[in-house]
Symmetry: D2
Subunit: 336 residues, 4 copies
Amino acid sequence: METEKEEGLVYAGSTDLALEANEIAAKRMGGAVPGVLTETQEDGGVKVTFMEVQNREAAQSIGKLPGHYITFEVLGLRNKDSDLQDQVATLFAQKFADFLKKIGIGKDAKVLIIGLGNWNVTADALGPIVVENIMVTRHFFQLMPDHVSPGYRQVSAVAPGVLGTTGIESSEIVQGIVDRSKPDLVIAIDALASRSIDRVNTTIQVADTGIHPGSGIGNKRKGLTKEILGVPVIAIGVPTVVYASTIVNNCIDLMIEHFKQETDRTDKIFGLLDGLEENDRLQLVKEVLNPVGHDLLVTPKEIDQFIEDIANIIASGLNAALHEAVDMNNVAAYTH
Amino acid sequence: METEKEEGLVYAGSTDLALEANEIAAKRMGGAVPGVLTETQEDGGVKVTFMEVQNREAAQSIGKLPGHYITFEVLGLRNKDSDLQDQVATLFAQKFADFLKKIGIGKDAKVLIIGLGNWNVTADALGPIVVENIMVTRHFFQLMPDHVSPGYRQVSAVAPGVLGTTGIESSEIVQGIVDRSKPDLVIAIDALASRSIDRVNTTIQVADTGIHPGSGIGNKRKGLTKEILGVPVIAIGVPTVVYASTIVNNCIDLMIEHFKQETDRTDKIFGLLDGLEENDRLQLVKEVLNPVGHDLLVTPKEIDQFIEDIANIIASGLNAALHEAVDMNNVAAYTH
Amino acid sequence: METEKEEGLVYAGSTDLALEANEIAAKRMGGAVPGVLTETQEDGGVKVTFMEVQNREAAQSIGKLPGHYITFEVLGLRNKDSDLQDQVATLFAQKFADFLKKIGIGKDAKVLIIGLGNWNVTADALGPIVVENIMVTRHFFQLMPDHVSPGYRQVSAVAPGVLGTTGIESSEIVQGIVDRSKPDLVIAIDALASRSIDRVNTTIQVADTGIHPGSGIGNKRKGLTKEILGVPVIAIGVPTVVYASTIVNNCIDLMIEHFKQETDRTDKIFGLLDGLEENDRLQLVKEVLNPVGHDLLVTPKEIDQFIEDIANIIASGLNAALHEAVDMNNVAAYTH
Amino acid sequence: METEKEEGLVYAGSTDLALEANEIAAKRMGGAVPGVLTETQEDGGVKVTFMEVQNREAAQSIGKLPGHYITFEVLGLRNKDSDLQDQVATLFAQKFADFLKKIGIGKDAKVLIIGLGNWNVTADALGPIVVENIMVTRHFFQLMPDHVSPGYRQVSAVAPGVLGTTGIESSEIVQGIVDRSKPDLVIAIDALASRSIDRVNTTIQVADTGIHPGSGIGNKRKGLTKEILGVPVIAIGVPTVVYASTIVNNCIDLMIEHFKQETDRTDKIFGLLDGLEENDRLQLVKEVLNPVGHDLLVTPKEIDQFIEDIANIIASGLNAALHEAVDMNNVAAYTH
């Protein structure tokens, strides 16, 4: 379980997604969480939720840091539908550009994009593949500043690798690069473990809170935050894997829901399972699976194609959002 | 659910592994299945089971075709242990060579190796990767028969692709290649869907029954069998994916087992779930997951490394088993 | 040097490109070669030449088989210009559709696309990469013929591998597949060795003469022709490699040309080299390089990107030319 | 042409290899260059040359920095001979370990390995592939210092990407990483442009002089040297590409040599070419090729396999040289 510390606060989140954390808290508190603002737009199978965690009390209630969040939910992303992908890329570009404005990032702010994760593990390769499709421009500004067309800003992009293959914490590598290249903003892309099987490969979360230790697929021990790097950090996360125990727990939920439609005595059908709190039930499932080594992190068989598709959405979205000269309505033309 | 027809028999198997089918039948029948011979050897974390389904009655009891089967079970294969991998490759080579003798395949029999599956889907790429590491020799026999060293036989190897990317059933492509290249034996390698999460990436099955429609990850509508190809067909299968519903069902099993150690009233804890037959329970799980699109085929996050490792084991094992000139004790040296 | 036999004729061509063969013959004969018709269109950096070799005499004069040829010459293809690539893909689609009409291939003719070459050798991977981007439809016609939208025809696509990795001649594999899948037309894509460094990665040749032994990068010993396969064969070839000796010979040519502009006594500068016939000089270069193992086949450092780009042009062009339902003006949208 | 500046000296080298630079200077000076010590060992197709450039005068004479150099020359590396590769890896490990001793690097010195070059350009991917096969251990020392077995030292490894894809000079990225991770030694691996076609894929150079601007395939503008990074830098370079003009020039040389055996009047055959200084002739060739865009950097067609092979040699050699616990006689077992 992930634990976040900041200024003395301790957050214990069972999910990487602020959206879910808010729902859980609202359920528990029997109504909207004070200090958490949300707004949802839905159009043609694409749901976008804006969320602001306004203060430390709200943060403590939902177990997420104060800040701004956008979540894109698109079930159809699993279906290899290239028209839908183009539509999501365009929407992502627009909302991301608005997000930059809202959090006060100027048009000339120099941006460093960090692709976290491991090239050689498909489900963890999202960050490196996004980096590969980013339109980098910083070197043109450095080498021939007078010849850069208007409508571009300084963008650089690095995939720092993972601890297991470099021997160095990725946050240390990023700190070194930030010290030398002096960006005004860091955008970090990472694959996440999902708390729910229906999130896998369908959800993109943007947050201005940075990346915190223990989040993402790899076991990071240090984060990428404004406190550490000295510049604001936007995190873009996509759930790509899920624990076997999560699948089991989700399914028991679904089964109980299913039978509730037929009987009000689901306890007869599910015995004790019916009465357990969700977290307690998950704990039980983990206790059973762990000793036999079966609480594996799994990913859908189609992960190769999906990672490619969603990396293209994010990369083309970023290219259009960061460079005014890139056409917002034809964002996909700039990646391959 | 897979359905196999042969000479009027109808087999309905819920598993691709004969070993499991036999266990299930034995449990149901309350004792060893008549006409099914098994023998197990275990050494240093590697379990090898030989099985013979001797007649049609036995075949019908367990839902598997008459024939010979070997199953290698190595839980440690998930641990990236290269010494263990070398050990398994050597053992595989020896047992495979014995298997060829037992089913009457001569030392000069010409062999065509078929790597079923899809290059671009990591969990389904086992067959193509094995093919890439096979020591092919047929062309030397064809082009310069007088210059081939003793200790080699004619081996060729093809990855025919999958229906979705070629537009042609892989069995049709293989038939065409067999017609033209006239091997005496076909060995087909395929990735399988597992009936149990603990099989994924830990089990290799060898069988002289060929590949049957509906087996493997892809939806094959035609098989690769002696009846179709005119030459014996050995199938080598490795479970690499598992349905979400299978994980859930496995886990409920484990939970019930777990509580049986504490109480004999597991029905109190699990309600109706406790009393259900395993197949009925699986059916229930599927009915709940399917409508929401969550009965996904999933694979462990580490699949990239695993597929590479097990493909090397099979390829080096085959190279040593098929060519006497290849050193049985250093089989891994011949692949990269 | 490649040698083609057909119906008793023997052709000795020093080039895979009919265009070049014709130029050489015309130069030698001091005028247009009788029986060879050519027509050239040029627009925006793209040059398209149509050629018909009308009879056996003409064929013998230029060392190329009777038939129809189109050559696309685009120097800019080396420059990673995606607008130009889209333009070439569209033009390729239109000219290829016209070509099919001219040689009598109907709208419903079933097409099998063969990607010759080796996945693992970048400069030889053109065919397999094209195959991967082809829109295959044959299986829909086979499995659900009533549900195929109008505007599509039956297309299948296979990459048969190379002799060194399969142990089987690719032509044998293709024959087997043709026997079983019964297409009306075969289109074979292959990477070629170039006779001139300026052809590498800039030229696409289409011909209805099939693929002949010894052409392409691999040493094919059997061809893919109508005589062998029983159906017409269109060959699409792209020069991707060049012999070191060819580079040297090209350069000596250029040097002599260069000095001709300054003096009419180039023999003073180049001695005997100046007077040698081109073929004799090439022979001399080869005699010097071969013994020291330096007459390597080489390819530009940028080959990875180029192969990707030109494979996309050919695949999108074929998709649009073969399926009326694919928009001719937006061909690139259908590949990734 | 590469220009190196150091402490007021200006070196103008036409080659990245010190060995060649020394030969050229010795030829020009009509005897051994004062202040340059060389020693050659040859065994079974493998030639190893040790060289020390002892002072600034010697450095100026040959155009290479003062320091220690080892060059491995193995023509057979082009032949896919895995026994030879193992032999070279073992030899490389031994000589590299000696080299560390000679230049005063202790057994516990912490090492950072930098793989320069571009993942996506096969001929430039040597550095990144070596990095991928390095046994990194630094994180074990950081996270559980008490549990590291004896015989290992702290090793980390990073592939920093290239300017064109990151927007940041690789030397800036490396400086940042060195600042944060504080190694005692940097080893940088890079692919080089060769001055001679017979060097391509046959030669490995080790030097304790660091990497200098303009060397390697990419156009580096800043180097990796002790002056810049504050710790010693060992450079490992392998020529993988060659200019077309170099091939032409090499070949004219070979032709002139060839005819010298038959006549003493090669000027009759080669005219002015015969009398030109080598550099002037190369200049002439470049002047002719450049305007038509043909002075391409090229690489042998087999580059994919070669890069894989030589990266394995270097990675296994480094693993054995850096960790005493790795068996010097079975170095290849530790990479895949």
